[in-house]
Symmetry: C2
Subunit: 404 residues, 2 copies
DNA sequence: TGAGTTTGTGCCGCAACTAAACAAACTGCG
DNA sequence: CGCAGTTTGTTTAGTTGCGGCACAAACTCA
């Protein structure tokens, strides 16, 4: 009728301007100075200066105009760049078998505040998520910080594009629960500003490790981690999470790593899931497994404190061999340039790094692929930080548009 | 000294301007008209018009200004866009067990000319590649077309960034031969214009199928194909080939698909490689395998012509089950939204599509992942077309810069 | 024939950048 | 101390790719 919507196009489809890339560089710590920013961005000093000034005006970064101290090389010292300490934050939430956790996370993966305790997980997703969001909202009120959005990490595959949690094995939720929708609704209701996102915890941990942890600088990062039960995987390609066409990629738990191993609920035998998780370790080491929600801790403690015990050591070596076989299979298919391990797998790596590396090298096809660096994860709450990354992403893509 | 190289930056790091994306849309047949180009590109009609005019001026596309015939809907009919029939071409080359092949390939994957016969492959890579390039150069002289570059497909993994052919099982080349360098040298020596590229044949076939064949429109395309011996895989993510951090991704041949299967040279048992390739089919069907360089044809003919024979049928079903198991494993890890099969796998799919789909659905974790469409490849010479895609890529990325 | 709809084009202007010249801040050497 | 040499920050003046119109063109439908 009015013929107005004819030529109006958003044009924001591809991130224009160097603002986003510049913020990402500072965010991931790859641009400590304006000079580095200039070269990393491939723009002139004039542009880099303008971009840095604009990001500072938005309250996202700090530019230390003070005469730099540690110079080192010749020439005029460059002004240092850092994420703002008082800028906006993302609300990060995580649900797991032990309970839940809420935190405020600033740029650079800096955890600003964490919600105190954790209570037991209840059956109803809406109730749990309501409590997490309420805890986060309280943190926001306490600190008075601006919120750019919210992210949630759940211990289950999240189907795209619906955002339903498939097979949440380790928490008592119904399969197919629309967690993304529920979470978004809770966030809206609570009056928290910004969009809400939901993702799988291992995926988000991988994202966080890639940006702020052991995966920094990797081009093709593979992460594998255990929770209390089962094994999860994630892949970060060129800085972006690869979660497949419907969010179900990297379901690595059912790779066969033992031809005549334990039966698995998937119908197969000897799956990575049932051969290398904490429960597998405890039973292989002939220990009585405790309650489900503490298997990871129990297994990790056992591995660290009783590695002298022959049964423990043998169990560890058996699991390392199985894990190595699984990793080698993944290396053959994905050819990553770095592998980061979490959960019990991280502890197994720490226990005998050489053995694991040798198995992977031996069982992967090409010698060079076998020499992939395998590292333990380094971030304390990587899933939580990863959840915050989801909320930060729109800001990283286009700071001006995201902060209106 | 002169202080000239200080602020000079290429700036071409990210493709600017809509020229490249526009050409890619026409190239892949996704922009049949200027109106579609406008919406797909997300720009105004003014911009789309200017872009189309510029691409036409470069001789890359044709704009039919004639009053369009088949309109269909209301309004002024849009001018039709098509790749130019007389524009430049890419030189495509392929080496395989049977010999080699050279062709000229225009935009849109259109094969303009093919070198006549094929001679037997000799031991020395330099000699073979010299002959292929010479054949291609002859085609260029005959047609008088401009050449944007050259691409080569080899039946072996190509290590990045060196460009060496690892384990060229099926041709009598030394392992680690620097094929990329040799090919580039031949191209340079012959006076062919433009850069030279080399890639794995299955990877390139996948790229071609994604742009012009059965994989069109897929976001996450998985291709699996057999040659005469062994199995290759490839993945195209968001239109770009994913070949891993060192070119060795998708080595799918050693997925275990039969716990107590045939021994494989990798040290394992029951690998996809030895359980589902043409030789495996012939022996399972109790047929005498012919010479190595005709196994694929022999197996395919047998499957098509003697499917009534119980031994043939049983062998086919056994291979389909094994292949399905392998594909299911890949689906769990990669979660593609389409699978395209080539070589004998394509014939197996044609023989009993329902059986293969059922096995994949049954053995992959999530029902929805199991319902991935599985299609036969549709391009006649997909590796060859894919090799040309390599050479076209710089033009697609930035037509102005690539054509000077 | 005229209203409605969709597409092509010319013109203006903006936003994001480059290029070039200059100023500033540091090191090192005589 | 002073001065060359080096690197970084800033200012100013273009350049360019593209959006936003306004209008013309080509077709359908009533």
């Amino acid at each position: 009728m009015n013929g107005k919507a004819t030529t109006t196009r958003t044009k924001l489809e591809r991130g224009r301007s160097a603002l986003g890339p510049a913020l990402e560089l500072v965010h991931t710590g790859r641009a400590p100075t304006r000079a580095v920013l200039t070269s990393e961005l491939g723009v002139t000093r004039a542009t880099a200066g303008a971009v840095a000034a604009e990001l500072e005006a938005l309250g996202l970064i700090r530019v230390d105009s003070s005469p730099g101290s540690a110079a080192g090389s010749q020439g005029r010292p460059s002004h240092r760049l850092a994420v703002s300490g008082t800028g906006p934050v993302a609300l990060a939430a995580q649900v797991h078998a032990d309970g839940f956790r809420a935190a405020l996370v600033g740029l650079g993966g800096r955890i600003v505040a964490t919600a105190p305790g954790c209570v037991a997980v209840m059956a109803d997703p809406a109730q749990v998520l309501g409590e997490v969001v309420a805890a986060g909202a309280q943190l926001l009120r306490d600190t008075g910080l601006r919120c750019v959005g919210a992210g949630l990490a759940v211990p289950s595959a999240v189907a795209e594009p619906e955002g339903t949690a498939l097979n949440p094995l380790h928490i008592a939720w119904p399969a197919g629960a629309p967690v993304r929708e529920i979470f978004a609704e809770c966030v809206r209701e609570t009056g928290i500003t910004g969009p809400a996102f939901t993702g799988n915890d291992v995926n988000l941990a991988a994202l966080a490790e890639h940006r702020h942890g052991a995966g920094r600088g990797a081009q093709h990062l593979l992460c594998v981690a255990t929770g209390h039960r089962g094994v999860g995987g994630a892949l970060v390609l060129d800085g972006r999470l690869h979660s497949g066409s419907s969010g179900l990629a990297l379901e690595v738990g059912h790779l066969t790593v033992n031809a005549d191993g334990r039966p698995c609920h998937c119908g197969g035998r000897g799956c990575l899931d049932v051969e290398t998780d904490p429960l597998a370790f405890l039973t292989t080491a002939r220990r009585e497994p405790g309650p489900e929600e503490s298997l990871l801790k129990q297994a990790g403690d056992l591995l660290r404190t009783e590695y002298d015990d022959a049964a423990v050591r043998n169990a560890a070596e058996e699991l390392i061999d199985r894990l190595g076989l699984g990793l080698a299979g993944l290396v053959n298919i994905l050819n990553p340039d770095r592998i980061v391990l979490g959960g019990l797998h991280r502890d197994l790596l720490d226990a005998d790094p050489e053995r694991l590396r040798a198995v992977v090298a031996d069982r992967s096809l090409w010698g060079r692929s076998g020499s992939v660096p395998i590292l333990p994860c380094t971030l304390a709450h990587n899933s939580l930080v990863g959840a915050a990354e989801l909320a930060w992403q729109p800001v990283l893509d286009d700071p001006l548009a995201a902060l209106t």
